[in-house]
């Protein structure tokens, strides 16, 4: 019962959000049936579109987890973007030059990408420990650095001479990750990371320390938690998740190379998903899927209906905002109703 209620509340909130968005579609003189029909058809309707949704979601799951794990520990890692780029670049470059049997190379490349992200986040951890620099500002600044540095590397030393835009060469084709019935293996990796994160946060003692640190840092310090190491660990882990997202996008995406502007929004979407999910691990997974569905369905809305793409973005925002807004409203409403019932027993 304890878990069922929030799920029902979320479903209700989603329904409500779509109803609200429908009003805007009507105002736009389009048919909600048509628009939502396209959304459904491209986002969920067939196995093909469903698997596409999962494929669109895997980087979001990972960057979302990256943000959730950090935020729940009170560590403000906003550097998902930079960590993602380093993961992608390292994987893309090594994927060109590394010569190993593919069963070994592919996991190795993914892990190295993750480690690149971790290392980038590790810089922020180092600044924090050494110079007491707030990770909020350092991770944010490191995003810009990462952007320029990776772009430089892709434009000069590792440029594919045949490309028209700054891009590295294609990674070796035998390193392309495949799918299972159209679902990227990367999705299953992300799914596994969901469980790993949950296990870490709720089963290990360092996860416990990290969460307590997120609630009240002074409490954790006085309680004997190793706040400094915990913060470092969280930054590294969080960076690893973002870096992994980047690497998997190279290995299992569509491009198989690092190009300018790759993964443009995955970092910030991850932050947004974490906030929507209240930093919950499974909630993050769910909202990442939901965002993947909206993204994928948006393609359909553009193709099949007359609404312009800006309007699709607008609808997405409306849906997300209403969803978050009503969710807590519905929760307090049910609490209030239960309180009324309890009072009824008392007053008769």
């Amino acid at each position: 019962m304890n878990h069922v209620r929030p799920i029902l509340q979320t479903i209700l909130a989603i329904v409500f959000a779509f109803l609200v968005a429908a009003i805007f579609i009507l105002l736009h003189r389009s048919s909600p049936f048509e628009v939502y029909g396209a959304l459904y058809q491209y986002g969920l309707g067939s196995w093909f579109s469903f698997s596409n949704t999962l494929n669109a979601a895997f980087p979001l799951i990972l960057t979302g987890l990256s943000a959730s794990i950090a935020f729940m520990s009170g560590v403000v890692n906003l550097g998902q973007h930079g960590q993602f780029l380093w993961g992608a670049l390292v994987c893309a470059v090594l994927g060109v030059y590394l010569r190993l049997p593919s069963w070994l190379a592919v996991p190795l490349l993914a892990i190295l990408g993750g480690l690149a992200g971790a290392a980038w986040a590790g810089l922020a951890a180092f600044f924090k420990r050494r110079y007491r620099m707030d990770e909020f500002i350092s991770t944010l600044m490191l995003n810009f650095l990462a952007e320029y540095m990776t772009l430089y590397l892709a434009t000069y030393p590792f440029l594919d001479p045949k490309a028209y835009v700054p891009a590295t060469r294609l990674i070796r084709p035998e390193y392309f990750m495949t799918g299972v019935f159209g679902v990227n293996v990367a999705f299953f990796v992300a799914f596994f990371m969901v469980f790993l994160c949950w296990w870490f946060a709720w089963r290990t003692w360092q996860g416990y320390e990290a969460r307590m640190m997120g609630y009240n840092k002074l409490f954790a310090t006085v309680g004997g938690c190793d706040v400094e190491s915990d913060t470092t660990l969280i930054l590294l882990f969080s960076g690893f998740l973002s870096g992994l997202a980047g690497a998997l996008l190279i290995l299992n995406g569509t491009q198989h190379r690092f190009t300018k502007g790759i993964g443009a929004n995955f970092g910030w979407d991850g932050v947004m998903i974490a906030i929507m999910a209240n930093n919950g691990v499974f909630q993050t997974f769910f909202y990442a899927l939901f965002m993947g569905f909206l993204k994928n369905g948006a393609v359909g809305m553009e193709f099949e209906t007359s609404v312009p793409s800006e309007f699709v973005m607008f609808l997405q925002s409306i849906i997300v905002l209403t969803l978050v807004g009503t969710r807590s409203g519905i929760a307090s409403l049910t609490d209030w109703l239960r309180a009324k019932r309890e009072l009824g027993k008392l007053v008769k």
Binding site: Q206, Y215, N216, L218, V222, G223, R338
Partner: protein, 502 residues
């Protein structure tokens, strides 16, 4: 009747019944005490009267008129103001700014900080509340912040003043001054509600007493000398409770805590917060620290636990020099009940269980290599909830839903059960009801008898005298006297605290 609360029920969403059909009334110009165990519903009832929360059922009349007190603003308009048990001040503001916040004196729309500061200073002097009005609020101790809360309502000049456990962290002298002022306010026709667990205070100052038990009103009695503390306690609990404990004492053993020449200089002001403190606590003894609040007790405890680094001097625990260790390493030796439960002792948004296993989580059986054993944690939490009679709906309830006293019990239960050689207690009974205070005292004496070393800081001189085997008196960051509570009496300790010769 000035105020009538009729048939009040309160259900906290979703289903915590906090008040059941409670009637409560106030007459003009009375001091009305509200007593009851931790979690009885005292704060809830008063929060309803002051507009902070709404009743689920029932009506409120002020001067015979039915009113809806939907917010503190409405309450203020009706002349009702409340000093809350859980302090809520803006930490970064100065004391006087907090006091005048929301009703600042201004001229032509400009704030007048000088004037505010001056006015608040006068107010504090008039009410005998010893607090530096220009200090930054978050640097004050809990007692200091408590005084700011009281000043804040006094400044607003309300007709009905609600004080929710105002004396929990005050020294007896300060309480006395506050009572004198309450009497003066009463003479001027003001009405005061006074919530307290200190029954002797209640009997001393109140005109009427209302007793709550588990959300129900048991009685409202006139305090005309016909009722005793024991009777009150019996009404509160529903059964007789024994209020004495036997002090069997064994000779003290080896030194556990040895502090040598400890000094702490405030870096910005250059003020000596601790000045050459020397003290020793042996195994099997309770050592009390007495002092007027703000004379270095706070800083001493913070240095001992490792939150602040001393400027010079050394700290040894069981022969080991811990001066340069961090709090985590020191926790292997120390159990610690901080005075500020809200900011230091608890994570309010976490569950009771998560709060109870803090520090315990570092060792087996809770910690199994990488993992935290969930079922051990749950059993452990359930046991403490039962032993310490924490009123709650189970180990997974959030601590912020508990009443003030029950939150304190969570901190105390966790630390007492830590089984460390040295136990630092900073105002450990703040907010605890009679029975819980008694239980804690018994526990402390039991720990002492099992050869633990206890260092107790308390504003409550009686508590210090009752529990301690030795008392150090602190003044201006120095230890100015070492006394034996069996041979000196309270007034002598008081003299040393104030620095006047006996």
């Amino acid at each position: 009747m000035l105020v009538e609360m009729i048939d009040i029920c309160k259900v906290y969403p979703p289903n915590v019944v906090a008040l059941k059909h409670v009637d409560f009334s106030l007459e003009r110009g009375e001091i009305h005490a509200l007593v009851g165990e931790n979690g009885a519903g005292k704060s809830t009832l008063m929060k309803i009267l002051s507009g902070l929360i709404r009743p689920s059922f029932g009506e409120i009349r002020v001067n015979g008129q039915r009113v809806q007190i939907n917010s503190p603003v409405v309450a203020a308009r009706l002349g009702i103001g409340m000093v809350h048990q859980e302090l809520a001040l803006v930490g970064s503001l100065r004391v006087y700014e907090n006091v005048v916040l929301g009703s600042e004196p201004s001229r032509f729309g400009l704030l007048q900080p000088q004037k505010s500061s001056q006015m608040v200073k006068q107010l504090a002097e008039r009410f005998g509340l010893n607090v530096d009005v220009d200090a930054i609020t978050q640097e004050l101790s809990v007692a200091g912040r408590q005084k700011v809360e009281i000043l804040k309502q006094l400044y607003r000049n309300v007709d009905i003043l609600i004080l929710d456990e105002p004396t929990a962290a005050l020294t007896p002298q300060e309480s006395e001054e506050l009572f004198d002022e309450m009497f003066k306010l009463r003479e001027r026709g003001k009405t005061i509600v006074f919530v307290s667990h200190k029954l002797d205070e209640v009997l001393k100052i109140s005109d009427r007493i209302t007793v709550l038990r588990k959300g129900e009103k048991i009685a409202t009695v006139k305090n005309d000398g016909s009722i005793s503390a024991a009777q009150l306690a019996e009404m509160m609990v529903g059964k007789r409770i024994e209020l004495v404990s036997i002090k069997a004492r064994r000779p003290a053993g080896d030194p556990v805590l040895v502090v040598k020449d400890l000094s702490l200089v405030d870096r910005t002001s250059g003020k000596k917060l601790l000045d050459g403190v020397n003290l020793t606590v042996h195994a099997g003894e309770v050592v009390g620290i007495a002092g007027v609040e703000g004379n270095g007790q706070n800083e001493l405890i913070e240095v001992l636990i490792g939150l602040r680094k001393p400027t010079s001097g050394s700290i040894k625990i069981m022969g080991e020099d811990v001066t340069n260790l961090d709090p985590r390493q020191r926790r292997a030796f120390i159990a610690y009940v901080p005075q500020d439960r809200k900011n230091v002792g608890l994570a309010l948004k976490a569950t009771i269980m998560e709060n109870l296993i803090m520090t315990h989580h570092m060792n087996p059986p809770l910690r199994r290599k990488w993992l935290l054993d969930k079922s051990v944690a749950k059993d452990f939490a359930s046991r403490l909830i039962k032993d310490f009679e924490i009123v709650c709906r189970g180990p997974f309830e959030k601590v912020q839903n508990l009443s003030g006293g029950n939150q304190q019990k969570v901190v105390v239960a966790r630390e007492i059960s830590l089984n460390r050689q040295l136990i630092l207690l900073d105002q450990p009974t703040r907010g605890l009801d009679v029975a819980s205070t008694q239980y804690l005292r018994d526990q402390v004496l039991m720990l002492r008898d099992s050869s633990k070393a206890v260092l107790l800081v308390s504003a409550d001189l009686d508590e210090l005298m009752d529990l301690s085997d030795r008392i150090y008196v602190m003044r201006s960051g120095r230890i100015v006297a070492e006394l034996d509570p069996r041979t000196v009496d309270k007034t002598v300790v008081g003299y040393h605290m104030l620095g006047v010769s006996a």
